[in-house]
Structures are given as C-alpha cells and as structure tokens.
C-alpha cells in the first residue's frame, strides 16, 4: 500500500511519481519507480529496506541534494525541483537539516564551530549565533563539550554534535541517513531518543533511514522501500 493519504494544509512533504534512474555505461539502474509519499508536519517517519533499495537516494531527493529523473518533490508548498542551484542551496540552508551515518563533522573545527557552520551563511550577529549554538548544543546535552574537537569526542557525542548542527538554523525538516548505523545499541538509543524528542517537543518533521527495527519502532510510522516503491509496514501513534 502506497502512502498517499495526507490531505490538508499540515502536509509538509509531498512526493509524486518520483522516478530516479542511474546510468552506468549503457546499464540503467531504475532505483525509484513512480514513488509517492506524504508526510505531515511534525511526523517522525522511519524508512527501512534492503541495502541498495534506494533509501539514501530518496532522502537526497527530498532534501534537494539530487534531482529526480521525473516526478516532483514539494516541501512546505514549494516545488523544490523547480529551484535553481543557488536558490536550492539557500532553501536547503533554511529548511533542511541533514544527519549522516558517519557524522561528517569538520575535523579541524571544534564542536562549537561545527554547529555554527550553517549560521555563518546567515546575517546573524556573533552574539545571536552564539546563543543559537548554545541552545542547539544544550538540546543534545553537549553544552560542556563546545570546545572539543571531533577527534576528542566519542561516536555518540559526534553524532549529537551533528544533530546540533542540523537543528541550529531551526529547519522544519530533519533528514537522517542511518544515524545510528555506526553506533552501539545504547548510544544509538540515545540518538533515537533525541530525534524523537525533536519531533514531539520541537515539532520537527523527521525522516530517518534505518536498518534497525528497534529504532524504527520509535517512529510514528515505518515505511519499506521495495522495488522502487514505498510500502507501509505499520503505523504507530495518531497522525492528524
């Protein structure tokens, strides 16, 4: 069953007939085939599926990092495939936070400076940036680690810095690609807990790819990517 059931104004993400093909030589890899998806604002959705099924591809398309072969992605009423390179970049800065499996922090910058990175692009004053960075670090429980470099942090702490970086500019949408894939169970649970809290207490819309069924359990809904389409596995909680 394809999940296209969100109607009304609080539907944040709308994906319609999304096709993504990769061309390797004369071989065509048909990753996404007419995929549809609706996500309400504030919802926490988990995507599962075998390796190579196109989960990363889907997140990249929703986040405007990649362009579809055909179909549309609409976020907050804006059809992002229509945006030019520059405008897409600034749209991404304002609306999307990314969290990766490998944290992808800049090793030569402190936790504070890593979190501050997206704010450099805004017109915020030093004092305002400072306030935002501290709020974000506090939200992930790392206010006391601001001056540490990524190499001085554990994997779980690095991922929390990455989350702080993703939320510092206060985006509506958080895209997480296997955020616990490189962490042990306990640390991973802490990360999922933070994401859950961001969704429930701070009204962030969280789209998370995961291999871990226990992590997916925490989400409002779980979707499976199979043969280029989404299949609904289970729905938890009430979505309006």
């Amino acid at each position: 069953m394809v999940r296209v059931d969100c109607s009304g104004t609080d539907c944040l993400v709308q994906v319609r007939n999304l096709d993504k093909k990769y061309y390797r030589g004369n071989e065509v890899i048909d990753v996404l085939r007419g995929l549809n998806l609706d996500v309400s604002a504030g919802e926490f959705v988990a995507f599962m599926g075998p390796s190579g099924s196109g989960k990363t591809t889907l997140l990249n398309l929703i986040g405007g990092l990649d362009t579809p072969t055909s179909g549309t992605v609409t976020v907050g009423g804006e059809e992002i495939n229509d945006l030019s390179g520059r405008r897409l970049t600034s749209w991404r800065a304002r609306h999307v936070g990314f969290i990766f499996q490998m944290y992808n922090l800049i090793p030569v910058l402190t936790a504070y400076q890593n979190v501050q990175l997206p704010l450099l692009l805004t017109g915020l004053s030093k004092a305002e940036r400072d306030r935002h960075v501290h709020t974000a670090l506090e939200l992930v429980g790392l206010a006391d680690r601001a001056k540490h470099y990524p190499g001085q942090l554990s994997g779980g702490e690095e991922q929390r810095v990455a989350i702080a970086r993703a939320i510092v500019a206060d985006p509506t949408l958080l895209l997480c690609d296997e955020p616990t894939g490189d962490l042990d169970r306990e640390t991973g649970d802490e990360i999922i807990e933070i994401l859950h809290r961001l969704s429930k207490e701070h009204e962030k819309t969280v789209l998370m790819v995961t291999h871990d069924p226990l992590a997916a359990e925490k989400a409002d809904s779980q979707l499976h990517l199979e043969k280029g389409l989404l299949v609904e596995a289970e729905r938890r909680g009430e979505i309006s």
Binding site: D66, R92, F100, N104, V108, L109, L120, L121
Partner: protein, 379 residues
C-alpha cells in the same frame, strides 16, 4: 571576518605541508628580491638619471670617439647650460677580476653638470693641482682600502702600459642611487700620454637649461653634426644608461627568465598542493554545501586559503631580502647600488598574490563543481 578561522584552520590542518608551501613562497620571493636588487644595481643610476641631462655619443657606436672640438660648438648652442665629457679608460687594477669603472673627467665642467657628486673642497683643490690625480668613490676606496695620498697603478687595456695615479680625493653622492665605486682622473693626463685617438673624447654629457626642451635640444645637436665624419646620437641620460646596460650580455633578460621560471614553478607547486589538500576534503566540502554554502563561497574559501599562503610566504621572503640588502653590497663594490626599493617589493608581493589566486583557482573550481551526492558516497 567570520570565515577567517575556517580559512586558517584549513590552512594549518597539515602543519608540515603548510610550512613547506609557505616556505616555497618565502624562498621564491627572497630570490625575487635579490634578483631585482641586482638588476637595479646593474642598471645603476637608471632611476636617478636626470631628464635635464643629455648624453651625446658617436652615432655608429658607443666605443667610437667624438672630436673634442664639439664641446665648444655645443656650448654655443641655445638651451645648453654646460658641457662635459668622458673617455672610458678600461684600466685593470692588479687583476682583471678587480673590475671597476674608470674613466676621465673634465674638471672644469663636470661638477656643474653633476652637482650630485660631493667632494670636499680641499680634496678637489689638490686634485686640480696634480696631473696624475684620481678621485675615487667611497665604496671603491673601501673595497681596496685606498686612502688619500695612495699611489694606484692601472694597467691600460686600450692604451697599453702601466698608468700611475695618486688618490687625491674620495667622493660621495647626495642621492642614494648613484654609484660610489667609480674611478675618475684628468682628461688632460690621458690626452698627453696616449699615442692615438688624440683630439677626441668618448662621450659628452650636457646640462640643458629647460628639461621640457630636452627633445628639441637633442634634435638640434644631432642635426648640427649630421653629414660630418663624426655624426652624433643624442639621448637622455636614462636611455643612455639603459643602452649601456644592454651591452652587458643581456643580463636583464637572463634574470627575467630566471624570475619567470621561479614563479611558474611556484604556481605548479602551490597548485598541486592545493589540489591534493582540496581533494582530501571533498567529503567536508560536500557537507558544507549540504548545510548551505554556495558554490561561489566554496570557491572563495579555497582561493582565500592559497591567497593567505602566498601573502604569508612572500611577506617573509621579501622581508628577509630587505634585511640582506640593508646589510650592504655583499660583493664589496661590484654591485654599485644595492638597494631593494618599495616598488619592487610591492611588485613581488603582487605577483605572488596572483600566483596564490591562480593556484587556488583550479582546485576551487573542482570543489565548486563537486556534486554533493557523489562526494558523500565516497566518504
């Protein structure tokens, strides 16, 4: 500047690499500083050559003589204040390695044409009284330890035999850029003793009354002596010296070639270093683009980085070169003017910034074109 820490952190992420790259700018700009110093030394006086002086030489060649009678004929021309003349002697002191310029002067007139030369009056008076007297520049005197009263023999190369001289005075200059390592003696002494070329001189220098009329005066002089057995070529002192320098086997071209090769090598070295350093960071650059850095700002940051390398290295290199020149001429007199000017330092600094920007350009464009999704897959 809120990006400064980012640029500096990127720059110093590999300490040794940063030191080596900045070091290559340093070495290159030090070399540049030395080359321009030597170059301006060889073209000695080019910068001070006065526009109110004209040099008249034989039209055929500098080494061909002119009749001594031209002095009076020019003195009567309009626009000419004073006339003096020189003969290149080409004498050797003890060994050909001890090269210095030695030529005759005409004492009556030389000081009115060249007021920049400073000679104490009592030394000048004793110079006038002694037929074998010589005046030496203060650096030349220092080089050979000569004092007033010393007897100096020069071996003639044009006019054979040993010519004896008495050092009667040591001159200085009122402007830093004039040579103080030449050897002057009486025209009359040469004229009496030389067996051939009597009644001639080497070249004339005239002082014009109005510098703005220099071109007209020069034209009038050459016209005056046209169609005579000794036709003249009159040029400004600046052009004359430049021509003289060109005779030195085009050393300048050689130095420009060396300088160009150095800068080109610097471009390759820095460009390559930047390319490696940027490629190592593709993943991070993709992340920066993900969080909203535009392609342009990514390019800008990378260029700013190589620009900083260039600025740091060249400031140190030029500073060292300046320090060395402040220590004075290391050859003890061969390089007459050993001075690194601010203009030349600014030129070197500017050139290295151009190299810095160019070196960051290609890696920067690659980073700019980098597709986020491809780069993140590689991480």
């Amino acid at each position: 500047m809120k990006y400064l820490h980012l640029i500096l952190r990127n720059l110093t992420r590999k300490k040794l690499r940063a030191v080596l790259t900045i070091g290559s700018f340093m070495v290159a700009l030090f070399l540049f500083g030395m080359l321009v110093t030597i170059d301006s030394s060889l073209s000695g006086g080019l910068d001070v050559a006065s526009a109110n002086r004209l040099v008249i030489r034989n039209k055929v060649s500098l080494i061909m003589p002119l009749p001594i009678s031209y002095a009076e004929r020019m003195r009567q021309m309009e626009g000419i204040e004073e006339v003096t003349h020189f003969v290149w002697f080409g004498g050797v002191y003890q060994d050909a390695k001890n090269f210095f310029a030695n030529y005759t002067i005409e004492p009556e007139t030389v000081r009115r044409v060249y007021p920049e030369y400073l000679i104490p009056d009592e030394q000048w008076d004793t110079f006038l009284e002694d037929r074998q007297a010589a005046l030496v520049g203060k650096d030349l005197a220092k080089r050979f330890g000569w004092k007033v009263g010393d007897r100096v023999p020069l071996e003639g190369t044009i006019w054979q035999g040993v010519w004896e001289f008495n050092v009667r005075g040591i001159y200085d200059v009122s402007t830093k850029d004039l040579p103080t390592s030449d050897f002057w003696f009486h025209y009359d002494y040469l004229e009496e003793q030389r067996p051939f070329l009597k009644g001639t001189t080497g070249w004339y220098t005239v002082r014009v009354t109005d510098p703005s009329m220099s071109a007209d005066v020069a034209g009038a002089i050459d016209e005056r002596f046209a169609n005579s057995p000794y036709e003249t070529k009159t040029e400004t002192e600046r052009a004359f010296i430049a021509g003289f320098v060109n005779q030195m086997g085009n050393i300048r071209l050689l130095m420009i070639s060396i300088g160009s090769v150095v800068f080109f090598t610097l471009l390759l070295v820095t460009g390559n270093t930047m390319a490696i350093s940027v490629r190592e960071r593709f993943g991070e650059i993709a992340v920066m683009k993900t969080v909203g850095f535009s392609d342009g700002s990514v390019l800008g940051l990378i260029i700013a980085e190589s620009f900083t390398i260039a600025a740091l290295g060249s400031v140190i290199g030029l500073g060292l070169a300046k320090l060395v020149t402040l220590g004075g001429d290391p050859t003890g007199g061969i390089l007459q003017v050993f001075y690194l000017g601010f203009d030349d330092m600014a030129l070197g600094f500017g050139l290295s910034l151009v190299v810095g920007i160019a070196a960051g350009l290609i890696p920067g464009l690659n980073a700019m074109r980098l597709r986020i999704v491809d780069a993140l897959r590689r991480v």
